[in-house]
């Protein structure tokens, strides 16, 4: 498959402190990729390396088939930094024109593209106003507009919706999905798991600088299914039989909560109860949210060294 991003043991150390360590990622073109992890995990560090703000301590990366550090390839890369600060003495339109020139646009192409992205992010009509007078959310929209200027094939967004209201968030989600439908690749750092869940194809979890889990969202979901059953006539033998399928099991009176690794195990559980002489009163699959996954993979307290 054609990869938009590939990294090989990419590592950044701040002195002795680890920013991120031995990151190996493969993001195919046309995906929305969610990069998740707690504060200080190293998400921004990775993005900054990929966009060329930081120089890796070791390791390699390839973006759109070009080695990291190639300036030409940046014509097709958009980036929205975490803190979205801009030359705020410029008016919105001037700001975008400046960034468009940095991307090498000029003349009418520049004018046209600037008004397109202004429309896209919902700042049309505000372009004559100085960026200084923008609200935080408007600034973030302006930042997103800058990132969209070159009609990028690869878009890095470091928490793009942190300052937006619910409608703004929805707008951004729609923009991202539209871009994806056009075949663009989006690399998204975010804490807002419900959003990630709605739009991402694949995710990676990072903790203390290391990737601890990655995969398609769908696979991750089905590899961690929680089933809740109400069972009458539970015997120790039946419990033991159920435990063989479970990655974890919890019991409260006749309520049994079991985690299984694949969907095919769900009917097997039912069969076990019946053949083991139990009475199955109720059984349902709990939808595993990304949030639970996030907490179970990145939380848990245990140190990963």
């Amino acid at each position: 498959m054609d990869m938009a991003i590939e990294t090989f043991n990419l590592t950044k150390k701040y002195g002795a402190k680890v920013g991120c360590a031995e990151i190996c990622l493969r993001v195919p073109r046309g995906q929305i990729f969610g990069f998740l992890g707690p504060n200080g995990a190293g998400k921004s560090t990775l993005v900054k390396m990929l966009v060329g703000l930081l120089f890796p301590t070791s390791g390699k990366a390839i973006l759109l088939n070009r080695a990291l550090g190639d300036t030409e390839v940046r014509k097709k890369i958009g980036f929205l930094p975490e803190n979205f600060r801009y030359h705020d003495w410029l008016a919105g339109q001037q700001l975008l024109e400046f960034h468009a020139s940095l991307y090498g646009l000029s003349g009418t192409a520049k004018k046209r593209r600037v008004s397109e992205v202004l429309d896209l992010v919902g700042l049309a009509g505000k372009e004559k106003q100085k960026v200084q007078t923008y609200s935080k959310g408007m600034r973030q929209r302006a930042g997103l507009a800058c990132a969209l200027l070159p009609d990028p094939d690869l878009l890095f967004l470091d928490e793009p919706t942190s300052a937006l209201d619910p409608i703004g968030r929805k707008d951004v989600r729609e923009i991202l999905v539209t871009l994806k439908d056009l075949g663009k690749t989006i690399f998204l750092n975010s804490h807002l798991l419900s959003e990630v869940e709605m739009i991402c194809d694949a995710v990676a979890f990072i903790r203390q600088g290391k990737i601890i889990r990655q995969g398609l969202l769908e696979d991750l979901r089905t590899s961690n299914i929680e089933v809740e059953m109400k069972v009458g006539g539970l015997t120790p033998a039946l419990t033991a039989a159920l435990s063989t399928l479970a990655s974890s099991i919890e019991m409260e009176d006749d309520l049994v909560r079991i985690r299984v690794k694949q969907e095919a195990d769900i009917p097997r559980l039912a069969a076990l109860v019946v053949t083991g002489g139990g009475y199955l009163f109720e059984m349902h699959r709990k939808k595993s949210t990304l949030e639970e996954m996030f907490i179970s993979t990145t939380g848990g307290g245990e140190e990963i060294c």
């Binding site: 060329g52 930094p81 400046f98 960034h99 940095l102 090498g104």
Partner: protein
């Protein structure tokens, strides 16, 4: 690079420091003009050609000396955070991730600010030269070359300050640059005194400081260009005092200053090219 140059130039025009420098310049030139006016008036009423021949050039060098002060002030203040402040605020993050090379970013900044400062200095020089010329009728030789050197002064400061702005935080850079500038100014004075009392130790100290920071020797060169020493018995008197120039810096000093500018800007570009933001 041109885009960076353009935005930097516009930024210079937008900054408060320009406004303050303009106000300072107007106050200074107003006072200076008044001073020259009354000096010229009293010489017109009680003609004393010998004294006038000493005082007029002194007035001129006085004007250029303090004019250089104001221009240098503007140079340091406008360049002190040219890069570091953008790093500190994070403005830079969306800029250098664009398809431009990092050295183009630095050279763009240099050219934008350099153009802005050189224009400001040139304007300043022209006003002072006109005040002197109109009021005292003093004919200035070599004024175009002097103008060029006067405009070079802030550019020299800009180059080092820009380098400082890559390797130091804004505040630290400001402190270092003002110290460096003070060294140049004091070094220049010391050298003058050295020539006056023929003390080679002091003269050499002055030469060393002008190698560290050649701004002051550019000023001395300007004074020489404007007041030709040839067949002028009172030239020694004209060049006396802290604002004069008893020993003309050679043309190599100018070459040195130009190399100095290229060297420090190049060094800034090099250091910036490997910097983590």
């Amino acid at each position: 690079m041109l885009t960076m140059m353009g935005i930097t130039f516009r930024e210079g025009l937008n900054r408060k420091v320009l406004l303050i420098s303009l106000i300072l310049a107007v106050i200074f030139l107003g006072l200076y003009g008044t001073g020259v006016h009354y000096a010229a008036k009293s010489f017109n009423e009680h003609p004393n050609p010998i004294l006038a021949a000493v005082v007029y050039p002194q007035l001129l060098s006085f004007g250029l000396y303090f004019g250089g002060f104001i221009v240098s002030f503007l140079a340091i203040f406008s360049a002190v955070g040219a890069i570091s402040a953008e790093i500190e605020t994070g403005i830079i993050q969306a800029v250098i991730t664009k398809p431009i090379r990092r050295c183009d970013y630095v050279w763009g900044k240099f050219l934008g600010l350099g153009l802005f400062l050189a224009l400001y200095a040139a304007l300043f020089f022209i006003v002072i030269a006109m005040i002197i010329n109109v009021k005292t009728g003093l004919v200035l030789d070599g004024q175009w070359r002097a103008l060029g050197l006067f405009a070079l002064q802030p550019v020299v400061l800009l180059a080092v300050t820009l380098f400082g702005s890559v390797v130091l935080p804004t505040i630290a850079n400001g402190v270092v640059m003002f110290m460096l500038y003070a060294v140049a100014v004091i070094g220049g004075m010391v050298e003058q005194i050295g020539w006056l009392i023929s003390n080679t130790g002091l003269q050499q100290a002055g030469i060393v400081t002008s190698l560290v920071m050649p701004v002051d020797s550019l000023y001395r060169k300007i004074v020489h260009l404007l007041m030709r020493p040839t067949d002028n018995p009172i030239n020694a008197l004209q060049q006396m005092g802290p604002f004069g120039s008893m020993a003309e810096p050679s043309v190599w000093m100018v070459v040195y200053a130009l190399l100095y500018v290229v060297f420090f800007t190049g060094l800034a570009a090099y250091a910036f090219g490997r910097k983590d933001i």
